[in-house]
Point group: D2
């Protein structure tokens, strides 16, 4: 099974991604992009996208970016992530671009940049750095 | 308006908390607890609670813990958070306990511990440390 | 060779610890303490202990705390650490207490609390959380 | 007093930078570079540069990068930093490039990349992200 299909299959098993109406919008070696609308049900108290939406998309995009550099029989789990919230999540959509900084057999170091799409323009709203751990694929 | 009511009002404006069916289960000076079920729609590809659920509850519990040490006319926004995922989020519910480590006028340093409730027992699944920024309450 | 001796031998090979005049002041399963004076040559521009001193002691104490939970033929390397600087490093000495949060064969999650000793009292000046990676001992 | 002179004056007051024989090797708006030799006295137990050296240079480069975007009467203190150690610090020198990601009146979000110079080539050994807090300059 090719890499893109493996990622799409795994993504489809993440029920949170369906709840968020998130879509895989780009897959390349070492880089994955995920896009989701800012739904009425994902907001914080000021009406903007909740930090957890940026986290969910950034974590997932970074995790799948890590998967692109691993052997076919592996998947990844997140060990740790730091997220900086740079600006309020105002707009119509949120878009996360995950990227591998340092591949490795035991650990994959990743980053993700998250953008709010507002009136056709990207606004940088979050920056993530994290550690993904390769584990044998189940099933 | 008393502190608990202010926190409950703000919490009720966070539509993500309603989507996650999260509830404020304890409020004390410097410490707030939030509990949510592991709904079918908040899972990762292995069927456990998504890291973003632990993040959402931990971030929110820590943010409201910070609010308890601020003057009445302030609210907080998250500047940055690091989350360590310690164990899979398996169980019926997830519970986050936020706590203030260092109050401040400009910054409030916070932590949160996140637990999965499984067969009546708490399992430590995540540890967060972060920075909350006090801002004047809107509206 | 017993655990304490292994840690002391490794510590003695860290030339930075000698430069900082740091000493191992407590070793217990899952917990290690390191103490160093705030020397004239380890300061930042305001004359207080540089953040890098708190980092050096906290990282090293946390790393050796991790070592206490590993088999004898392993050592650890730091993968990532986050440090919160809570207060200025003013006083005569700095003391770091490292602790294991989650042991593991592949990763050990650790924390450290750093204190300035000033007129006989401990002041909490830094909080670290990090990831240590066990590797086979060289030599 | 011009910006470069202010940064050089502050740098010269940091006794740790002298201890490490560190030098300011580039200053531009939003970006500062610091270089230091891997002295015999800054090593970890395997003989490579200690993580604290990468931290010290990365933190300081990022802090001065932040200073370049602030008014003249301000200085900065580090609130928090996360460092990923990507590869062993082997070589003759270590070089840190700090950069501003998001300027702000209350907080400045920064990153730094740290490289080991080995046989004339740069090797990426560490990645930092952090939060700098502007404070009124003393004195």
């Amino acid at each position: 099974m090719d890499l893109e299909q493996r990622i799409r299959d795994s993504f489809d098993r993440q029920s949170l991604m369906a709840t968020l109406e998130a879509r895989l919008t780009a897959i390349a070696p070492g880089a994955v992009e995920i896009t989701a609308p800012i739904l009425p049900g994902v907001r914080q108290q000021q009406g903007h996208a909740h930090a957890a939406l940026s986290f969910a998309l950034g974590d997932t995009a970074a995790g799948y970016a890590a998967l692109t550099v691993l052997p076919e029989d592996m998947e990844v789990v997140t060990s740790e992530i730091k997220i900086h919230l740079l600006a309020p999540g105002r707009g119509e959509q949120v878009l996360a671009r995950g990227r591998v900084v340092r591949p490795g057999r035991r650990l994959v170091i990743v980053t993700a940049d998250v953008f709010a799409l507002r009136e056709g323009q990207e606004h940088h709203i979050a920056l993530l750095t994290g550690t993904m751990v390769p584990v044998p694929a189940s099933g």
